[in-house]
């Protein structure tokens, strides 16, 4: 009897164990279903845009999980540089800011999306032309797909304009009329026309660039900084400083945001997205006082923009999926408009431009239908060829401008000095 009981107990244990083993095997079978992971590296607020597109992606690709790796803006781009240089920890899709697209396009680390199996050129007409051009390098390779853009705009304080008897046309007619209007605003209200004379220089040097030329170098790496557009930009900036029309504060500094809050800065040239930042955190108390217009003297410029790219080192099996993901982010109307509405990410997809959202008044801009203004700007902007030394050149020009503005350095000498420095690195 005792023996039987003992045996039955052993049988019970064996049954329980085998049951558990069966359950385990079934669970493993479920896990073994082909489930892939696509890694997307992004920075704020692109990470949020990607995350909000995930429900749609999961509906289309239930077997592919998307992992979003988010880092701060600079950290993200440093990490992408390191990942590309070593081919380690490469994401399947990387978000890139326009400045980095230009830099990375010089190297050979990103997939050429114009080749098969991507064939982005068949979608070229869907993208805003200048943004597509920005992703195309001098060899004709398209290294990224544009997701959002930053059409340039002039934001101005309508209350200060009214007080000084200045109209929007006075601001935008020409650069000279803009500066003259600034003098009136300063006299009547004490407010500065702009945060820094550099802001105006940045736009003026971008106007009148010959097709094929870059901002600082031409296609043969000849330096262009002594050309008339630089001379004019420096002269205008000097005029602004001499008349004390700029607050001498740089973007994103404490003084800059205080200037907006306190109404001491009357206008700001920037990307359309700035009005969103102003509304959300920079100067929400000034709601209703700002308006947006085109930049002075019919200038059109781009301020920032986001692109998605596929690194060459990604496993071949993931590349097709990565491309499908990029298509969803950049060519899907719903995703593009969702990002525009939630994060002020101005769409690079032209097909969204007929959406009624563009016609809606913006409360922060006193009910102005400003998106229509920006939509028009987006179609007029032209892409500027990128040179490897652009980032250095930018710094050199700003330094020389500071010397002209603060120390009274002669403009011709300043630009010649810049030319010498840029020449030294033209072919590095």
């Amino acid at each position: 009897m005792r023996c039987w009981l003992f045996h039955s107990w052993k049988v019970l244990v064996a049954l329980v164990l085998s049951g558990l083993a069966l359950f385990e095997a079934q669970a493993q079978q479920i896990d073994a279903l082909p489930r892939q992971t696509l890694t997307v590296a992004a920075y704020p607020a692109v990470d949020e845009i990607v995350k909000s597109a995930l429900p749609l992606w999961n509906r289309l690709h239930p077997d592919v999980e998307v992992k979003v790796v988010s880092r701060q803006f600079t950290d993200h781009h440093t990490a992408m540089t390191t990942a590309l240089s070593t081919s380690f920890y490469l994401p399947d899709v990387m978000a890139l800011e326009v400045g980095y697209v230009g830099r990375f396009a010089q190297g050979g680390g990103l997939e050429d999306l114009s080749l098969e199996p991507y064939g982005i050129k068949s979608f070229q007409s869907h993208y805003v032309p200048y943004a597509f051009q920005q992703a195309t390098n001098h060899k004709g390779a398209v290294v990224a797909a544009p997701s959002d853009i930053g059409p340039g705009t002039l934001l101005y304080r309508t209350d200060l304009l009214v007080k000084s008897g200045v109209s929007e046309a006075d601001l935008t007619q020409s650069w000279d009329s803009y500066v003259a209007a600034g003098a009136k605003i300063k006299a009547a209200t004490g407010a500065y026309l702009m945060a820094h004379a550099r802001d105006m220089k940045d736009i003026v040097i971008r106007t009148g660039i010959k097709p094929g030329d870059g901002l600082y170098y031409d296609s043969q790496s000849n330096v262009l900084v002594t050309s008339p557009r630089f001379v004019r930009a420096f002269e205008l900036a000097r005029k602004v400083r001499q008349q004390k029309l700029d607050a001498k504060v740089l973007a994103w500094s404490n003084e800059w945001s205080e200037g907006f809050k306190r109404g001491t800065i009357a206008t700001q040239m920037s990307g359309a997205w700035l009005s969103g930042h102003m509304n959300n955190w920079l100067a929400p108390s000034t709601r209703g006082l700002w308006r947006a217009s085109q930049l002075p003297e019919h200038s059109f410029a781009a301020f920032g923009g986001t692109f998605f790219a596929i690194p060459k080192g990604v496993p071949a099996a993931h590349k097709q999926l990565a491309w499908q993901f990029i298509q969803l982010m950049t060519l899907n109307r719903e995703v593009q408009l969702g990002a525009f509405k939630a994060q002020d990410a101005f769409p690079a997809l032209i097909e969204t431009y007929d959406d009624p959202f563009f016609e809606q008044p913006i409360e922060f801009l006193g009910g102005q239908k400003a998106r229509v203004v920006w939509r028009e700007a987006a179609t007029h902007i032209t892409a500027i060829a990128v040179h490897k030394q652009d980032s250095f050149a930018d710094e050199v020009i700003n330094t020389e401008l500071d010397k002209v503005l603060d120390r009274g350095k002669d403009i011709t000498v300043a630009l010649a000095d810049a030319q010498r420095l840029l020449k030294q690195r033209a072919y590095r």
Binding site: T74, T78, T81, T82, L84, S85, T86, S87, R103, F104, Q106, G107, G108, G109, L110, K248, V249, L250, N254, E255, E258, K312, G313, K388, Q389, S391, F392, E395, T399, D402, K403, D406, L421, Q424, R428
Partner: protein, 311 residues
């Protein structure tokens, strides 16, 4: 509990096993980057194209660095900052340590702790705090100067307009020096306090009996006895000063400020690599900086090295 024989470590292996965590980390994060940067200094490399894109260019990067105006400018900035922030650290720390040593008994640790606090505080927190203090229109430093300027006599020495600390090239370096001085003076005080405690009291007693005053005791006993520690402290300041990076980097938004007035060589190296994409030249410059640091350390050694039969 007895460990099975098979799991026991042989006495010959034990030192290597115990040393291995450090050695491994040192090899990976110390030796490898050193050798790699030396290798890179002779290459031209577009980093985003991958490791295979490197091209041997001989001494090109070194030649470029030596002809580069900005490299020399950054070296000058670094030298200026190292001297202006470094020398006062020691000139203040030695008498201060002597004062704390001789005048504070019970409260000594609290006072030393207060001076040491900036040294152990995060550089980022310090730089952010100071960038707010140095703000031209709304910073406390300018508000303070403005208040002082209302005092009749003092107003002669005060600037009429708010000082643009972080955007005017003339003011960036003094602003950075102030922070570096404030941050490291406490560390030096601790060094000198430790050294002061090793000076035998009998010498001071004998000096007092011989009629030496406090100043004479400081000059003829304390200072000579501190010489080995001064050598150590100055060497640390020379090396630290020439590698200055974090404070100016954060204060100038990672760019080095207007006219690159706050751009130290360490910042320029970083920018050459990560902003201007020239890893080869950046590596060459880092080795040139190493030569400068080594030379100056050697000179410090020559200047402060304790001499005489006791060494």
């Amino acid at each position: 509990m007895k460990i099975p024989y098979s799991l026991r470590m042989s006495p010959e292996m034990a030192p290597y096993v115990f040393l291995s965590p450090f050695v491994l980390l040192f090899l990976v994060f110390g030796v490898f980057p050193l050798l790699f940067s030396f290798y890179l200094a002779f290459q031209s490399w577009e980093p985003t194209s991958g490791l295979e894109a490197m091209k041997f260019v001989g001494l090109d990067n070194f030649a470029f660095a030596l002809q580069d105006d900005w490299f020399w400018k950054s070296l000058k900035n670094t030298g200026w900052l190292a001297i202006v922030s470094g020398v006062p650290q020691h000139l203040v720390a030695i008498p201060l340590a002597y004062f704390i040593h001789s005048s504070f008994q019970g409260l000594r640790n609290v006072v030393v702790g207060a001076y040491f606090m900036p040294y152990i505080t995060s550089t980022v927190a310090i730089a952010i705090l100071f960038s707010s203090l140095f703000s031209t229109d709304y910073g406390l430093i300018n508000v303070g100067l403005q208040m002082i300027s209302h005092v009749p006599v003092l107003s002669w020495f005060m600037p009429q307009n708010p000082v643009d600390w972080l955007n005017d090239p003339d003011n960036i370096k003094p602003a950075i020096s102030m922070i570096v001085f404030w941050r490291y003076v406490g560390f030096n005080v601790v060094l000198y306090l430790a050294a002061l405690q090793t000076i035998p009291k009998d010498i001071y007693e004998a000096a007092t009996m011989d009629g030496a005053g406090r100043l004479q005791q400081f000059w003829f006993i304390t200072l000579p006895s501190l010489k080995p520690m001064i050598f150590f402290g100055v060497t640390l300041s020379v090396i630290g000063g020439l590698q200055l990076f974090e404070e100016p980097f954060i204060l100038t938004g990672g760019r080095g400020g207007s006219d690159q007035a706050g751009m130290t060589t360490a910042i320029y190296l970083y920018r050459m690599a990560f902003d201007f994409n020239d890893f080869g030249a950046a590596s060459a410059m880092s080795w040139l900086l190493f030569i400068v640091v080594a030379l100056l350390t050697w000179m410090t050694n020559r200047l402060f090295r304790p001499r005489g039969p006791s060494v």
